[in-house]
Symmetry: C2
Subunit: 339 residues, 2 copies
DNA sequence: TTGAAAGCGCTAACAG
DNA sequence: CTGTTAGCGCTTTCAA
């Protein structure tokens, strides 16, 4: 208890105190080999006394498995992503892994960070960052590190994926707005390309065209709230026959809603119907009451973890793509408000 | 390139290929010892050829420093916390550490998870979880693992801290509401105790009492949006002479705002002035336009990392408490709207 | 059941 | 400048 160098106790210290060999300590504590009840007890007692804890790092050196897993995520300060990461991390933790969080914002040298993950010998990684560098994914494959891509399109890389059905998403949006009585459509397609967001905008437009209904593409810069505000400006500048707009993320939708309502004094849904996508918590807030399409963040995270684990256990299994469930959530920004 | 066992190359493999000794590889790659230009080149070339990367885990075994740092956070799906964790993680990454994310939700055996962190030999940890188990902090101290507590009150444990000034917060809230013309106050004090939230509610009430102005305590269950809604119900049930309410978090404020406005048809700020705390992104959204007190999440995160690093470098330095900057943000839920 | 010994991958102190 | 050597803390054969 002296305040000095307090070196952490090692299995050797425990062994000495319990009067056995280090290997006995290992066996007793891991429960892997046969040990007599008596030594087991002595070891456990000694370990407790010393406050000994196994050094996983040393252990991993031996059995080639660190138990560390990387979560590579961008836009962590965004409600949807935060929830997704939280659930993935929790799930990983429950399964005995230890998640390392890599935040990938903007152009910060992502590949350097992923490199670092590789240096830590991660057992796998879950990538839910925008535009992960494709080269890195190859590198992971080369090193036999399982990677699961969440809603990301990385060239034609072979990997396990958890994805939205883009076509179904566009179709569902179209069906919802149509069912709510929309006739002249607009869709928000951010200029900054993102696989799923841009994709569903395109799919939605395709549905409109197939039905020979007019659709206008509005292109805000990115996919956040402020971009929704920008979209409102663009929308207001259009001829106002547009009566229904599919905002490809809830953040866009909420910005657009506020912009149209507060800045331009439009009545929603009377003058214009708005549909979002994601069903983030804020969509359900009373003041917003946004009709949207729920993308199940929890399910996506859990699926990702499952896929990763499956590949860790069997590196040769065929690549799999799991689909994230989606469902309509009717609220107050459309004229139709119930199933 | 064959699809077989692909064991990861070790420094030994590189050494063999470059025709030098393993230690030369280490020296060349770490840039720590003197190496001739020629060998350095050969080593680097060989390393690249093999796709070799240093195994940090093995290295850490030698120099007793894993470079791993724990971030223990609860309520990660909350805007303020998500932002804080994002910035802390990014900062850690920039400084060469690798953050392990522990999500501490509810009663999930937190101490087991922190134990795991210790097993991974983390260089330090940043705790921004609600009610971290005090025992664990002691354990960290015993093992000489630096811990910095962010806005947490853990008994009288000695540790580095990053904290809000609770008294100043209550005072600022009071001053703002008073300056905006409030005369009969209410304050939201969640029943689920949280050091800072409960604390500033108390401090605010004290200011009212000191000024001999009436103040009503409203006690919603927790501190989220839905609890704000609950608070609105409680508030509406009061006699309606209350003209200004300090909601101790923005989430509470936003819920209360929506509840009063949507459910009870009150005009804000005419009928009631509302003040939040935190300045989360949503507070600034046009439809909310919440007057609040900004708690600088970025600054808090950066301070935490700094404190942790300082202690890693010098374990004997005196414990320090850094204060998170706060500032008024006037928006539309108070009658006064500018500085 | 238990002890001995080898080895995981890397680094640093020490010779040469 | 470079090779040798001795660990870091743990696990796992292999004998005894």
């Amino acid at each position: 208890m002296t305040e000095k160098k307090q070196k952490k106790p090692t299995s050797f210290d425990v062994a000495r105190l319990a009067n056995v060999h280090r290997s006995a300590v290992s066996r007793a504590l891991s429960g892997k080999g046969r040990v007599s009840e008596e030594t087991r007890e002595r070891v456990i007692k000694a370990a407790q006394e010393l406050g000994y804890r196994v050094n996983y790092l040393a252990r991993s050196l031996h059995d080639q498995n660190s138990g560390l897993v990387g979560i590579v995520a961008s836009r962590l300060d965004t409600p949807y992503r935060a929830l997704q990461v939280k659930i993935a991390a929790r799930d990983l933790l429950n399964k005995g892994y230890c998640p390392i969080l890599i935040v990938a914002e903007g152009d910060v040298a992502l590949s350097g960070l992923i490199d670092r993950l590789l240096n830590y010998n991660v057992a796998g990684m879950i990538v839910t960052s925008d535009s992960p560098p494709a080269g890195i994914i190859d590198e992971c494959k080369r090193l036999a590190v399982p990677v699961v891509l969440v809603n990301r399109d990385v060239g034609d890389v072979q990997a396990d994926r958890v994805q939205l059905d883009i076509e179904a998403s566009g179709q569902m949006a179209f069906d919802m707005l149509r069912a709510a009585g929309g006739t002249r459509f607009a869709v928000l397609a951010p200029r900054e390309q993102t696989y799923t967001v841009t994709g569903r905008a395109r799919a939605f437009a395709a549905c409109c065209q197939a039905a020979e209904l007019p659709v206008t593409m509005i292109t805000p810069h990115r996919q956040n709230y402020v971009d929704g505000l920008e979209a409102a400006d663009l929308l207001a500048a259009q001829d106002d026959s547009i009566d229904a707009v599919f905002c490809t993320t809830d953040l866009l939708a909420l910005g657009c809603l506020d912009g149209m309502r507060v800045t331009y004094g439009r009545q929603i849904p009377q003058d214009l119907q708005i549909l979002g996508y994601d069903d983030i918590e804020q969509a359900g807030w009373l003041g917003n009451n946004l009709t949207t399409i729920k993308q199940d963040a929890g399910a996506a995270a859990v699926l990702a973890v499952e896929l990763m684990q499956a590949r860790i256990e069997d590196a040769t299994r065929p690549f799999e793509t799991a689909t994230i469930p989606i469902s309509p959530v009717w609220r107050g920004t459309t004229r139709k408000t119930a199933g």
